[in-house]
Symmetry: C2
Subunit: 319 residues, 2 copies
Protein backbone atom coordinates (compact mmCIF):
# COMPACT_ATOMS: atom_id res chain seq x y z
CA UNK A 1 0.00 0.00 0.00
CA UNK A 2 1.57 3.30 -1.12
CA UNK A 3 1.37 5.87 1.67
CA UNK A 4 4.62 7.79 1.50
CA UNK A 5 6.15 9.02 -1.75
CA UNK A 6 9.43 10.70 -2.63
CA UNK A 7 9.77 12.83 -5.76
CA UNK A 8 13.41 12.89 -6.79
CA UNK A 9 14.08 16.04 -8.76
CA UNK A 10 11.48 18.80 -8.84
CA UNK A 11 11.63 20.41 -12.25
CA UNK A 12 8.40 20.99 -14.14
CA UNK A 13 7.42 17.31 -14.33
CA UNK A 14 8.52 16.50 -10.77
CA UNK A 15 6.60 19.50 -9.43
CA UNK A 16 3.44 18.32 -11.24
CA UNK A 17 3.75 14.83 -9.73
CA UNK A 18 4.51 16.22 -6.27
CA UNK A 19 1.62 18.67 -6.14
CA UNK A 20 -0.99 16.23 -7.45
CA UNK A 21 0.14 13.27 -5.33
CA UNK A 22 0.20 15.45 -2.20
CA UNK A 23 -3.60 15.37 -2.42
CA UNK A 24 -3.71 11.58 -1.91
CA UNK A 25 -0.50 10.62 -0.08
CA UNK A 26 2.34 11.91 2.06
CA UNK A 27 4.75 13.50 -0.39
CA UNK A 28 8.35 14.50 0.10
CA UNK A 29 10.47 16.23 -2.50
CA UNK A 30 14.19 15.50 -2.57
CA UNK A 31 15.88 18.47 -4.21
CA UNK A 32 19.44 19.64 -4.75
CA UNK A 33 19.22 23.26 -3.61
CA UNK A 34 18.52 24.09 0.08
CA UNK A 35 16.52 27.20 -0.92
CA UNK A 36 14.35 25.07 -3.19
CA UNK A 37 13.47 22.79 -0.22
CA UNK A 38 12.91 25.82 1.99
CA UNK A 39 10.56 27.40 -0.54
CA UNK A 40 8.51 24.22 -0.88
CA UNK A 41 8.30 23.71 2.91
CA UNK A 42 7.24 27.30 3.43
CA UNK A 43 4.93 27.96 0.48
CA UNK A 44 3.99 24.57 -0.91
CA UNK A 45 3.37 24.29 -4.64
CA UNK A 46 1.00 26.30 -6.76
CA UNK A 47 -0.33 24.62 -9.90
CA UNK A 48 -1.88 26.79 -12.60
CA UNK A 49 -3.07 26.14 -16.14
CA UNK A 50 -4.92 22.90 -16.92
CA UNK A 51 -5.42 22.34 -13.19
CA UNK A 52 -5.55 25.12 -10.63
CA UNK A 53 -4.81 24.32 -6.99
CA UNK A 54 -2.34 24.64 -4.18
CA UNK A 55 -0.63 21.74 -2.39
CA UNK A 56 1.41 21.43 0.78
CA UNK A 57 4.27 18.95 0.92
CA UNK A 58 7.61 18.36 2.65
CA UNK A 59 10.94 18.86 1.03
CA UNK A 60 14.61 18.45 1.86
CA UNK A 61 17.99 18.64 0.22
CA UNK A 62 19.44 16.51 3.05
CA UNK A 63 18.98 12.73 2.61
CA UNK A 64 19.49 12.13 6.37
CA UNK A 65 16.25 14.01 7.03
CA UNK A 66 14.21 11.66 4.83
CA UNK A 67 12.16 8.62 6.03
CA UNK A 68 11.68 5.30 4.21
CA UNK A 69 9.31 5.42 1.22
CA UNK A 70 6.80 3.13 -0.43
CA UNK A 71 7.22 4.73 -3.82
CA UNK A 72 9.59 7.09 -5.61
CA UNK A 73 9.44 8.95 -8.90
CA UNK A 74 12.70 10.02 -10.51
CA UNK A 75 12.04 13.13 -12.54
CA UNK A 76 15.49 14.66 -12.70
CA UNK A 77 17.13 15.27 -16.05
CA UNK A 78 18.38 11.93 -17.39
CA UNK A 79 21.96 13.22 -17.19
CA UNK A 80 21.53 13.78 -13.43
CA UNK A 81 19.95 10.40 -12.60
CA UNK A 82 22.92 8.89 -10.79
CA UNK A 83 23.67 12.05 -8.78
CA UNK A 84 20.00 12.49 -7.86
CA UNK A 85 19.28 8.89 -6.88
CA UNK A 86 22.52 7.87 -5.14
CA UNK A 87 21.97 9.81 -1.86
CA UNK A 88 18.45 8.36 -1.38
CA UNK A 89 18.91 4.96 -3.00
CA UNK A 90 18.63 3.13 0.37
CA UNK A 91 15.20 4.59 1.20
CA UNK A 92 13.14 2.37 -1.12
CA UNK A 93 13.98 -1.10 0.21
CA UNK A 94 10.30 -2.03 0.64
CA UNK A 95 8.99 0.05 -2.23
CA UNK A 96 9.47 0.74 -5.90
CA UNK A 97 10.86 3.54 -8.03
CA UNK A 98 9.39 4.86 -11.28
CA UNK A 99 11.64 6.49 -13.85
CA UNK A 100 9.72 9.35 -15.44
CA UNK A 101 12.64 10.68 -17.40
CA UNK A 102 13.40 11.34 -21.00
CA UNK A 103 14.81 8.58 -23.12
CA UNK A 104 16.32 5.24 -22.40
CA UNK A 105 18.84 4.16 -19.78
CA UNK A 106 17.56 5.83 -16.61
CA UNK A 107 16.00 2.60 -15.32
CA UNK A 108 19.32 0.75 -15.51
CA UNK A 109 21.04 3.44 -13.44
CA UNK A 110 18.26 3.49 -10.82
CA UNK A 111 18.16 -0.32 -10.53
CA UNK A 112 21.93 -0.48 -10.14
CA UNK A 113 21.90 2.08 -7.32
CA UNK A 114 18.69 1.29 -5.43
CA UNK A 115 18.51 -2.54 -5.56
CA UNK A 116 14.72 -2.42 -5.45
CA UNK A 117 11.77 -2.76 -7.84
CA UNK A 118 12.00 -0.32 -10.74
CA UNK A 119 9.30 0.75 -13.21
CA UNK A 120 9.73 2.04 -16.76
CA UNK A 121 7.83 5.27 -17.15
CA UNK A 122 7.18 7.57 -20.08
CA UNK A 123 5.24 10.74 -19.66
CA UNK A 124 3.77 13.10 -22.17
CA UNK A 125 2.63 15.60 -19.57
CA UNK A 126 4.10 18.99 -20.12
CA UNK A 127 4.51 21.94 -17.88
CA UNK A 128 6.36 25.17 -17.48
CA UNK A 129 8.16 25.88 -14.26
CA UNK A 130 7.71 29.53 -13.31
CA UNK A 131 9.50 29.31 -9.96
CA UNK A 132 10.48 26.80 -7.28
CA UNK A 133 6.90 26.96 -5.97
CA UNK A 134 4.83 27.56 -9.11
CA UNK A 135 4.37 25.21 -12.03
CA UNK A 136 2.00 25.61 -14.96
CA UNK A 137 0.29 22.40 -16.08
CA UNK A 138 -0.02 22.27 -19.88
CA UNK A 139 -0.72 18.95 -21.64
CA UNK A 140 -2.59 16.59 -19.29
CA UNK A 141 -1.57 13.47 -21.20
CA UNK A 142 -0.85 10.12 -19.53
CA UNK A 143 2.14 8.58 -17.86
CA UNK A 144 2.64 5.13 -19.37
CA UNK A 145 4.25 2.75 -16.92
CA UNK A 146 5.27 -0.87 -16.66
CA UNK A 147 7.71 -3.20 -14.95
CA UNK A 148 11.43 -2.76 -15.61
CA UNK A 149 12.11 -6.33 -16.75
CA UNK A 150 15.44 -6.99 -14.95
CA UNK A 151 14.04 -6.20 -11.47
CA UNK A 152 10.97 -8.40 -12.06
CA UNK A 153 8.69 -5.71 -10.67
CA UNK A 154 5.24 -7.25 -10.01
CA UNK A 155 2.58 -5.84 -12.32
CA UNK A 156 0.27 -5.37 -9.30
CA UNK A 157 2.71 -2.77 -7.95
CA UNK A 158 2.64 -0.90 -11.27
CA UNK A 159 -1.16 -1.01 -11.26
CA UNK A 160 -1.34 0.34 -7.72
CA UNK A 161 0.99 3.23 -8.55
CA UNK A 162 -0.94 4.05 -11.72
CA UNK A 163 -4.23 3.99 -9.78
CA UNK A 164 -2.80 6.39 -7.24
CA UNK A 165 -1.66 8.78 -9.98
CA UNK A 166 -5.18 8.69 -11.44
CA UNK A 167 -6.70 9.29 -7.99
CA UNK A 168 -4.46 12.36 -7.67
CA UNK A 169 -5.97 13.86 -10.83
CA UNK A 170 -3.21 12.90 -13.28
CA UNK A 171 -3.53 10.41 -16.10
CA UNK A 172 -1.65 7.11 -15.95
CA UNK A 173 -1.84 3.74 -17.65
CA UNK A 174 -0.26 0.54 -16.32
CA UNK A 175 1.11 -1.66 -19.09
CA UNK A 176 2.43 -5.23 -18.93
CA UNK A 177 5.13 -4.08 -21.39
CA UNK A 178 5.98 -0.38 -21.34
CA UNK A 179 8.68 -0.58 -24.00
CA UNK A 180 6.38 0.12 -26.99
CA UNK A 181 5.29 3.37 -25.33
CA UNK A 182 8.83 4.24 -24.24
CA UNK A 183 10.25 3.61 -27.70
CA UNK A 184 7.53 5.63 -29.44
CA UNK A 185 8.44 8.60 -27.34
CA UNK A 186 12.17 7.83 -27.54
CA UNK A 187 12.18 7.86 -31.34
CA UNK A 188 10.09 11.03 -31.49
CA UNK A 189 12.09 12.74 -28.80
CA UNK A 190 15.52 11.70 -30.06
CA UNK A 191 14.74 12.87 -33.60
CA UNK A 192 13.12 16.19 -32.71
CA UNK A 193 15.57 17.12 -29.95
CA UNK A 194 18.66 16.35 -32.02
CA UNK A 195 17.49 18.37 -35.02
CA UNK A 196 16.42 21.24 -32.76
CA UNK A 197 19.74 21.21 -30.88
CA UNK A 198 21.74 21.33 -34.12
CA UNK A 199 19.61 23.84 -36.04
CA UNK A 200 18.44 25.87 -33.00
CA UNK A 201 14.93 25.88 -34.47
CA UNK A 202 12.03 25.25 -32.07
CA UNK A 203 9.67 22.41 -33.03
CA UNK A 204 8.42 24.44 -35.99
CA UNK A 205 6.74 23.71 -39.33
CA UNK A 206 10.19 23.08 -40.82
CA UNK A 207 10.24 19.68 -39.05
CA UNK A 208 7.35 18.39 -41.16
CA UNK A 209 8.17 20.19 -44.47
CA UNK A 210 8.98 17.77 -47.31
CA UNK A 211 8.74 19.86 -50.46
CA UNK A 212 12.29 20.87 -51.41
CA UNK A 213 15.22 18.43 -51.34
CA UNK A 214 16.80 20.47 -48.55
CA UNK A 215 13.68 20.43 -46.35
CA UNK A 216 14.12 19.22 -42.78
CA UNK A 217 10.96 17.07 -42.85
CA UNK A 218 12.85 14.58 -45.03
CA UNK A 219 15.50 14.30 -42.34
CA UNK A 220 12.93 13.86 -39.55
CA UNK A 221 11.20 11.21 -41.62
CA UNK A 222 14.47 9.37 -42.21
CA UNK A 223 15.44 9.58 -38.51
CA UNK A 224 12.03 8.26 -37.44
CA UNK A 225 12.09 5.45 -40.00
CA UNK A 226 15.56 4.48 -38.83
CA UNK A 227 14.38 4.47 -35.21
CA UNK A 228 11.41 2.28 -36.14
CA UNK A 229 13.74 -0.19 -37.82
CA UNK A 230 15.88 -0.39 -34.68
CA UNK A 231 12.75 -0.95 -32.54
CA UNK A 232 11.51 -3.62 -34.95
CA UNK A 233 14.89 -5.31 -34.87
CA UNK A 234 14.65 -5.43 -31.06
CA UNK A 235 11.19 -6.99 -31.34
CA UNK A 236 9.37 -3.90 -30.07
CA UNK A 237 6.10 -2.97 -31.76
CA UNK A 238 5.50 0.75 -31.32
CA UNK A 239 2.61 2.16 -29.31
CA UNK A 240 2.14 5.27 -31.50
CA UNK A 241 3.68 6.45 -34.77
CA UNK A 242 6.43 8.97 -33.97
CA UNK A 243 5.99 10.63 -37.38
CA UNK A 244 2.39 11.48 -36.52
CA UNK A 245 3.61 12.80 -33.16
CA UNK A 246 6.14 14.94 -35.03
CA UNK A 247 3.55 16.35 -37.40
CA UNK A 248 1.40 17.48 -34.46
CA UNK A 249 4.36 18.87 -32.53
CA UNK A 250 5.59 20.79 -35.59
CA UNK A 251 2.52 23.03 -35.28
CA UNK A 252 3.45 24.20 -31.79
CA UNK A 253 6.80 26.03 -32.09
CA UNK A 254 7.66 24.56 -28.68
CA UNK A 255 11.34 24.67 -27.77
CA UNK A 256 12.47 21.08 -27.02
CA UNK A 257 14.51 20.59 -23.85
CA UNK A 258 17.76 20.08 -25.74
CA UNK A 259 17.33 23.48 -27.39
CA UNK A 260 17.17 24.99 -23.92
CA UNK A 261 20.32 23.05 -22.98
CA UNK A 262 22.20 24.13 -26.08
CA UNK A 263 21.25 27.77 -25.61
CA UNK A 264 22.50 27.63 -22.03
CA UNK A 265 25.49 25.39 -22.82
CA UNK A 266 24.26 22.66 -20.44
CA UNK A 267 25.16 19.02 -21.03
CA UNK A 268 22.28 17.58 -23.08
CA UNK A 269 20.37 14.32 -22.63
CA UNK A 270 21.68 13.02 -25.97
CA UNK A 271 23.25 9.92 -24.33
CA UNK A 272 19.72 8.89 -23.28
CA UNK A 273 18.08 9.84 -26.61
CA UNK A 274 19.85 9.49 -29.97
CA UNK A 275 22.88 8.05 -28.20
CA UNK A 276 20.68 5.33 -26.67
CA UNK A 277 19.25 4.45 -30.09
CA UNK A 278 22.77 4.32 -31.55
CA UNK A 279 23.93 2.09 -28.67
CA UNK A 280 20.97 -0.30 -28.86
CA UNK A 281 21.37 -0.50 -32.64
CA UNK A 282 25.07 -1.28 -32.34
CA UNK A 283 24.37 -3.95 -29.70
CA UNK A 284 21.74 -5.59 -31.91
CA UNK A 285 23.73 -5.24 -35.13
CA UNK A 286 21.13 -2.97 -36.77
CA UNK A 287 22.37 0.02 -38.82
CA UNK A 288 21.48 3.46 -37.43
CA UNK A 289 23.80 5.82 -39.34
CA UNK A 290 21.65 8.96 -39.00
CA UNK A 291 20.99 8.80 -35.25
CA UNK A 292 24.66 7.93 -34.79
CA UNK A 293 25.76 10.90 -36.93
CA UNK A 294 23.58 13.38 -35.04
CA UNK A 295 24.69 11.89 -31.72
CA UNK A 296 28.33 12.53 -32.67
CA UNK A 297 27.55 16.08 -33.81
CA UNK A 298 25.88 16.89 -30.48
CA UNK A 299 28.79 15.41 -28.52
CA UNK A 300 31.05 17.59 -30.68
CA UNK A 301 28.87 20.62 -29.95
CA UNK A 302 29.14 19.96 -26.21
CA UNK A 303 32.92 19.61 -26.57
CA UNK A 304 33.06 23.00 -28.34
CA UNK A 305 31.71 24.80 -25.25
CA UNK A 306 34.89 24.10 -23.31
CA UNK A 307 37.45 23.61 -26.09
CA UNK A 308 40.09 26.30 -26.12
CA UNK A 309 42.46 25.10 -28.81
CA UNK A 310 44.94 27.36 -30.50
CA UNK A 311 43.67 30.87 -30.91
CA UNK A 312 43.26 32.21 -34.39
CA UNK A 313 42.54 35.74 -35.41
CA UNK A 314 38.85 36.42 -35.68
CA UNK A 315 39.05 37.78 -39.21
CA UNK A 316 37.63 35.99 -42.22
CA UNK A 317 39.71 33.21 -43.70
CA UNK A 318 39.61 31.03 -46.76
CA UNK A 319 38.86 27.24 -46.72
CA UNK B 1 48.20 36.50 -74.72
CA UNK B 2 47.02 37.53 -71.25
CA UNK B 3 47.81 41.19 -70.65
CA UNK B 4 44.85 42.53 -68.68
CA UNK B 5 43.26 40.66 -65.78
CA UNK B 6 40.18 41.28 -63.66
CA UNK B 7 39.90 39.84 -60.15
CA UNK B 8 36.23 39.52 -59.26
CA UNK B 9 35.83 39.63 -55.50
CA UNK B 10 38.79 40.66 -53.35
CA UNK B 11 38.60 38.69 -50.13
CA UNK B 12 41.73 36.96 -48.87
CA UNK B 13 42.16 34.72 -51.93
CA UNK B 14 41.23 37.42 -54.45
CA UNK B 15 43.67 39.84 -52.82
CA UNK B 16 46.46 37.27 -53.06
CA UNK B 17 45.79 36.72 -56.78
CA UNK B 18 45.50 40.46 -57.44
CA UNK B 19 48.71 41.46 -55.68
CA UNK B 20 50.86 38.70 -57.20
CA UNK B 21 49.49 39.06 -60.75
CA UNK B 22 49.99 42.84 -60.60
CA UNK B 23 53.71 42.10 -60.85
CA UNK B 24 53.33 40.49 -64.30
CA UNK B 25 50.17 41.97 -65.85
CA UNK B 26 47.73 44.86 -65.73
CA UNK B 27 45.37 43.98 -62.88
CA UNK B 28 41.99 45.44 -62.06
CA UNK B 29 39.94 44.49 -59.03
CA UNK B 30 36.15 44.55 -59.32
CA UNK B 31 34.78 45.00 -55.82
CA UNK B 32 31.37 45.68 -54.28
CA UNK B 33 32.19 48.53 -51.89
CA UNK B 34 33.32 51.95 -53.26
CA UNK B 35 35.62 52.47 -50.26
CA UNK B 36 37.29 49.13 -50.99
CA UNK B 37 38.06 50.29 -54.54
CA UNK B 38 39.22 53.66 -53.26
CA UNK B 39 41.57 52.03 -50.73
CA UNK B 40 43.12 49.78 -53.38
CA UNK B 41 43.56 52.64 -55.87
CA UNK B 42 45.15 54.83 -53.22
CA UNK B 43 47.29 52.38 -51.24
CA UNK B 44 47.62 49.28 -53.40
CA UNK B 45 47.91 45.94 -51.65
CA UNK B 46 50.35 44.88 -48.99
CA UNK B 47 51.18 41.17 -48.80
CA UNK B 48 52.79 39.84 -45.62
CA UNK B 49 53.60 36.36 -44.35
CA UNK B 50 54.92 33.75 -46.77
CA UNK B 51 55.64 36.49 -49.31
CA UNK B 52 56.33 40.10 -48.37
CA UNK B 53 55.79 42.82 -50.96
CA UNK B 54 53.61 45.70 -52.04
CA UNK B 55 51.67 45.91 -55.31
CA UNK B 56 49.88 48.70 -57.16
CA UNK B 57 46.71 47.92 -59.08
CA UNK B 58 43.47 49.50 -60.27
CA UNK B 59 40.12 48.90 -58.71
CA UNK B 60 36.51 49.88 -59.23
CA UNK B 61 33.06 49.11 -57.93
CA UNK B 62 31.57 50.53 -61.13
CA UNK B 63 31.45 48.11 -64.11
CA UNK B 64 31.15 51.02 -66.59
CA UNK B 65 34.69 52.07 -65.61
CA UNK B 66 36.19 48.72 -66.55
CA UNK B 67 37.88 47.83 -69.89
CA UNK B 68 37.75 44.47 -71.72
CA UNK B 69 39.87 41.69 -70.17
CA UNK B 70 41.91 38.75 -71.39
CA UNK B 71 41.43 36.81 -68.18
CA UNK B 72 39.29 36.89 -65.04
CA UNK B 73 39.44 35.11 -61.72
CA UNK B 74 36.24 34.80 -59.69
CA UNK B 75 37.16 34.65 -56.04
CA UNK B 76 33.95 35.80 -54.40
CA UNK B 77 32.13 33.56 -51.96
CA UNK B 78 30.34 30.84 -53.92
CA UNK B 79 27.00 32.20 -52.70
CA UNK B 80 27.80 35.57 -54.31
CA UNK B 81 28.95 34.27 -57.70
CA UNK B 82 25.95 35.42 -59.71
CA UNK B 83 25.83 38.87 -58.11
CA UNK B 84 29.57 39.35 -58.52
CA UNK B 85 29.86 38.17 -62.12
CA UNK B 86 26.64 39.55 -63.67
CA UNK B 87 27.74 43.24 -63.89
CA UNK B 88 31.05 42.37 -65.61
CA UNK B 89 29.99 39.28 -67.56
CA UNK B 90 30.28 41.08 -70.92
CA UNK B 91 33.93 42.07 -70.41
CA UNK B 92 35.47 38.67 -71.17
CA UNK B 93 34.27 38.03 -74.73
CA UNK B 94 37.80 37.41 -76.00
CA UNK B 95 39.16 35.92 -72.81
CA UNK B 96 38.50 33.28 -70.21
CA UNK B 97 37.34 33.18 -66.61
CA UNK B 98 38.72 30.94 -63.86
CA UNK B 99 36.52 29.99 -60.93
CA UNK B 100 38.68 29.89 -57.80
CA UNK B 101 35.83 29.37 -55.41
CA UNK B 102 34.89 26.80 -52.85
CA UNK B 103 32.93 23.77 -53.88
CA UNK B 104 31.02 22.83 -56.97
CA UNK B 105 28.59 24.79 -59.09
CA UNK B 106 30.35 28.16 -59.53
CA UNK B 107 31.53 27.30 -63.05
CA UNK B 108 27.97 26.64 -64.25
CA UNK B 109 26.84 30.05 -62.98
CA UNK B 110 29.80 31.86 -64.58
CA UNK B 111 29.38 30.08 -67.94
CA UNK B 112 25.67 30.86 -68.00
CA UNK B 113 26.29 34.57 -67.38
CA UNK B 114 29.50 35.27 -69.32
CA UNK B 115 29.14 33.10 -72.45
CA UNK B 116 32.89 32.74 -72.68
CA UNK B 117 35.57 30.14 -71.91
CA UNK B 118 35.46 29.03 -68.28
CA UNK B 119 38.08 27.14 -66.23
CA UNK B 120 37.53 24.93 -63.22
CA UNK B 121 39.82 26.02 -60.44
CA UNK B 122 40.56 24.70 -56.98
CA UNK B 123 42.96 26.44 -54.71
CA UNK B 124 44.55 25.38 -51.48
CA UNK B 125 46.19 28.72 -50.89
CA UNK B 126 45.20 30.27 -47.63
CA UNK B 127 45.38 33.77 -46.35
CA UNK B 128 44.05 36.09 -43.72
CA UNK B 129 42.63 39.41 -44.75
CA UNK B 130 43.66 42.07 -42.24
CA UNK B 131 42.13 45.01 -44.10
CA UNK B 132 41.05 46.07 -47.59
CA UNK B 133 44.67 46.73 -48.43
CA UNK B 134 46.58 44.14 -46.38
CA UNK B 135 46.45 40.37 -46.79
CA UNK B 136 48.62 37.81 -45.05
CA UNK B 137 49.76 34.90 -47.25
CA UNK B 138 49.74 31.63 -45.33
CA UNK B 139 49.83 28.31 -47.20
CA UNK B 140 51.53 28.73 -50.59
CA UNK B 141 49.94 25.64 -52.09
CA UNK B 142 48.88 25.35 -55.71
CA UNK B 143 45.85 26.36 -57.71
CA UNK B 144 44.73 23.36 -59.75
CA UNK B 145 43.04 24.38 -62.93
CA UNK B 146 41.56 22.82 -66.02
CA UNK B 147 38.95 23.38 -68.73
CA UNK B 148 35.29 23.58 -67.72
CA UNK B 149 34.03 20.83 -70.06
CA UNK B 150 30.80 22.48 -71.34
CA UNK B 151 32.57 25.61 -72.65
CA UNK B 152 35.25 23.51 -74.38
CA UNK B 153 37.97 25.77 -73.08
CA UNK B 154 41.23 25.03 -74.99
CA UNK B 155 43.86 23.47 -72.75
CA UNK B 156 46.45 25.90 -74.15
CA UNK B 157 44.50 28.76 -72.52
CA UNK B 158 44.58 26.97 -69.18
CA UNK B 159 48.30 26.36 -69.54
CA UNK B 160 48.96 30.01 -70.36
CA UNK B 161 47.00 31.18 -67.32
CA UNK B 162 48.78 28.67 -65.06
CA UNK B 163 52.16 29.80 -66.41
CA UNK B 164 51.30 33.41 -65.67
CA UNK B 165 50.27 32.53 -62.09
CA UNK B 166 53.61 30.76 -61.65
CA UNK B 167 55.48 33.74 -63.11
CA UNK B 168 53.71 35.95 -60.55
CA UNK B 169 55.15 33.90 -57.67
CA UNK B 170 52.11 31.73 -56.97
CA UNK B 171 51.87 28.00 -57.55
CA UNK B 172 49.57 26.67 -60.25
CA UNK B 173 49.14 23.41 -62.16
CA UNK B 174 47.24 23.06 -65.45
CA UNK B 175 45.36 19.78 -65.68
CA UNK B 176 43.56 18.21 -68.64
CA UNK B 177 40.85 17.16 -66.17
CA UNK B 178 40.53 19.29 -63.04
CA UNK B 179 37.63 17.33 -61.57
CA UNK B 180 39.75 14.87 -59.54
CA UNK B 181 41.41 17.83 -57.79
CA UNK B 182 38.13 19.69 -57.39
CA UNK B 183 36.35 16.66 -55.94
CA UNK B 184 39.20 15.88 -53.52
CA UNK B 185 38.89 19.35 -52.09
CA UNK B 186 35.09 19.31 -52.34
CA UNK B 187 34.77 16.14 -50.27
CA UNK B 188 37.28 17.39 -47.70
CA UNK B 189 35.75 20.85 -47.56
CA UNK B 190 32.11 19.72 -47.49
CA UNK B 191 32.79 17.27 -44.65
CA UNK B 192 34.92 19.54 -42.49
CA UNK B 193 32.85 22.68 -43.02
CA UNK B 194 29.52 20.99 -42.30
CA UNK B 195 30.75 19.38 -39.08
CA UNK B 196 32.37 22.63 -37.99
CA UNK B 197 29.24 24.67 -38.76
CA UNK B 198 27.04 22.29 -36.76
CA UNK B 199 29.34 21.71 -33.78
CA UNK B 200 31.01 25.15 -33.82
CA UNK B 201 34.37 23.44 -33.28
CA UNK B 202 37.33 24.71 -35.35
CA UNK B 203 39.19 22.06 -37.37
CA UNK B 204 40.47 20.47 -34.17
CA UNK B 205 41.78 17.06 -33.10
CA UNK B 206 38.15 15.96 -32.57
CA UNK B 207 37.76 15.66 -36.35
CA UNK B 208 40.26 12.80 -36.51
CA UNK B 209 39.45 11.09 -33.16
CA UNK B 210 38.08 7.56 -33.58
CA UNK B 211 38.38 5.98 -30.14
CA UNK B 212 34.94 6.23 -28.51
CA UNK B 213 31.72 5.42 -30.37
CA UNK B 214 30.66 9.06 -30.04
CA UNK B 215 33.90 10.44 -31.51
CA UNK B 216 33.57 12.84 -34.41
CA UNK B 217 36.38 11.20 -36.41
CA UNK B 218 34.00 8.32 -37.18
CA UNK B 219 31.55 10.80 -38.67
CA UNK B 220 34.24 12.55 -40.75
CA UNK B 221 35.43 9.17 -41.98
CA UNK B 222 31.88 8.16 -42.96
CA UNK B 223 31.24 11.51 -44.70
CA UNK B 224 34.49 11.24 -46.64
CA UNK B 225 33.84 7.60 -47.60
CA UNK B 226 30.37 8.56 -48.78
CA UNK B 227 31.82 11.42 -50.84
CA UNK B 228 34.38 9.06 -52.39
CA UNK B 229 31.57 6.69 -53.39
CA UNK B 230 29.70 9.52 -55.08
CA UNK B 231 32.87 10.57 -56.96
CA UNK B 232 33.53 6.95 -57.97
CA UNK B 233 29.94 6.63 -59.15
CA UNK B 234 30.48 9.71 -61.34
CA UNK B 235 33.64 8.15 -62.77
CA UNK B 236 35.99 10.59 -61.02
CA UNK B 237 39.21 9.21 -59.58
CA UNK B 238 40.36 11.46 -56.74
CA UNK B 239 43.57 13.48 -56.87
CA UNK B 240 44.29 13.23 -53.11
CA UNK B 241 42.71 11.30 -50.24
CA UNK B 242 40.40 13.71 -48.36
CA UNK B 243 40.80 11.68 -45.16
CA UNK B 244 44.55 12.33 -45.20
CA UNK B 245 43.80 16.01 -45.82
CA UNK B 246 41.44 15.94 -42.82
CA UNK B 247 44.04 14.32 -40.55
CA UNK B 248 46.53 17.07 -41.36
CA UNK B 249 43.95 19.85 -41.00
CA UNK B 250 42.78 18.49 -37.65
CA UNK B 251 46.14 19.48 -36.18
CA UNK B 252 45.69 23.14 -37.03
CA UNK B 253 42.59 24.35 -35.08
CA UNK B 254 41.82 26.56 -38.08
CA UNK B 255 38.25 27.89 -38.20
CA UNK B 256 36.70 26.79 -41.53
CA UNK B 257 34.86 29.49 -43.48
CA UNK B 258 31.43 28.08 -42.63
CA UNK B 259 32.22 28.43 -38.94
CA UNK B 260 32.84 32.12 -39.56
CA UNK B 261 29.54 32.33 -41.45
CA UNK B 262 27.59 30.56 -38.72
CA UNK B 263 29.08 32.74 -36.00
CA UNK B 264 28.10 35.83 -37.96
CA UNK B 265 24.77 34.44 -39.19
CA UNK B 266 25.80 34.81 -42.84
CA UNK B 267 24.36 32.53 -45.51
CA UNK B 268 26.83 29.63 -45.83
CA UNK B 269 28.29 28.00 -48.95
CA UNK B 270 26.54 24.72 -48.13
CA UNK B 271 24.69 24.68 -51.47
CA UNK B 272 28.11 24.51 -53.19
CA UNK B 273 29.61 22.00 -50.71
CA UNK B 274 27.54 19.23 -49.05
CA UNK B 275 24.47 20.37 -50.97
CA UNK B 276 26.38 19.92 -54.25
CA UNK B 277 27.42 16.39 -53.24
CA UNK B 278 23.81 15.60 -52.31
CA UNK B 279 22.57 17.00 -55.63
CA UNK B 280 25.14 15.16 -57.75
CA UNK B 281 24.42 11.94 -55.85
CA UNK B 282 20.67 12.31 -56.38
CA UNK B 283 21.19 13.02 -60.09
CA UNK B 284 23.37 9.93 -60.48
CA UNK B 285 21.22 7.70 -58.27
CA UNK B 286 23.99 7.15 -55.70
CA UNK B 287 23.02 7.21 -51.99
CA UNK B 288 24.50 10.05 -49.94
CA UNK B 289 22.39 10.02 -46.74
CA UNK B 290 24.99 11.66 -44.49
CA UNK B 291 25.91 14.63 -46.69
CA UNK B 292 22.20 15.06 -47.38
CA UNK B 293 21.37 15.00 -43.66
CA UNK B 294 24.03 17.58 -42.78
CA UNK B 295 22.96 19.73 -45.73
CA UNK B 296 19.40 19.79 -44.39
CA UNK B 297 20.58 20.60 -40.88
CA UNK B 298 22.60 23.57 -42.11
CA UNK B 299 19.67 24.84 -44.20
CA UNK B 300 17.58 24.51 -41.02
CA UNK B 301 20.21 26.42 -39.06
CA UNK B 302 20.15 29.24 -41.62
CA UNK B 303 16.33 29.30 -41.41
CA UNK B 304 16.53 29.61 -37.62
CA UNK B 305 18.35 32.97 -37.89
CA UNK B 306 15.28 34.67 -39.27
CA UNK B 307 12.47 32.45 -37.99
CA UNK B 308 10.26 34.21 -35.51
CA UNK B 309 7.52 31.66 -34.85
CA UNK B 310 5.27 31.79 -31.85
CA UNK B 311 6.99 33.11 -28.79
CA UNK B 312 7.31 30.82 -25.80
CA UNK B 313 8.45 31.74 -22.33
CA UNK B 314 12.17 31.32 -21.95
CA UNK B 315 11.89 29.11 -18.87
CA UNK B 316 12.81 25.45 -18.85
CA UNK B 317 10.25 23.04 -20.24
CA UNK B 318 9.82 19.30 -20.42
CA UNK B 319 10.10 17.26 -23.68
Amino acid sequence: MIKRICIIGCGSIGSLYAAHLAKVAEVWAFVRRPEHAEGLNKSGLRVSGTHEFHANLRASHDPSKLPQFDFGIVSSKATQTADAVRPVAHLFKDGAILSAQNGLGGEEIIAELAKTFVMRGTTFMSGTRHSDTHVQYELDTATWMGPFEPTKTPFAMVQEAADLLCASGLKAVALEDARPAQWSKLIFNASVNAVSALTELPHSFHFAAEEEVGDLGHLLHALIDEGKQVAAGLGIELHEDPWEMNKIGAQTDHPPSMLYDVRHKLKTEVDFLGGAIAREALRAGIPAPLHTALYRLIKGKEAAWTYEGRKHTAVQRQT
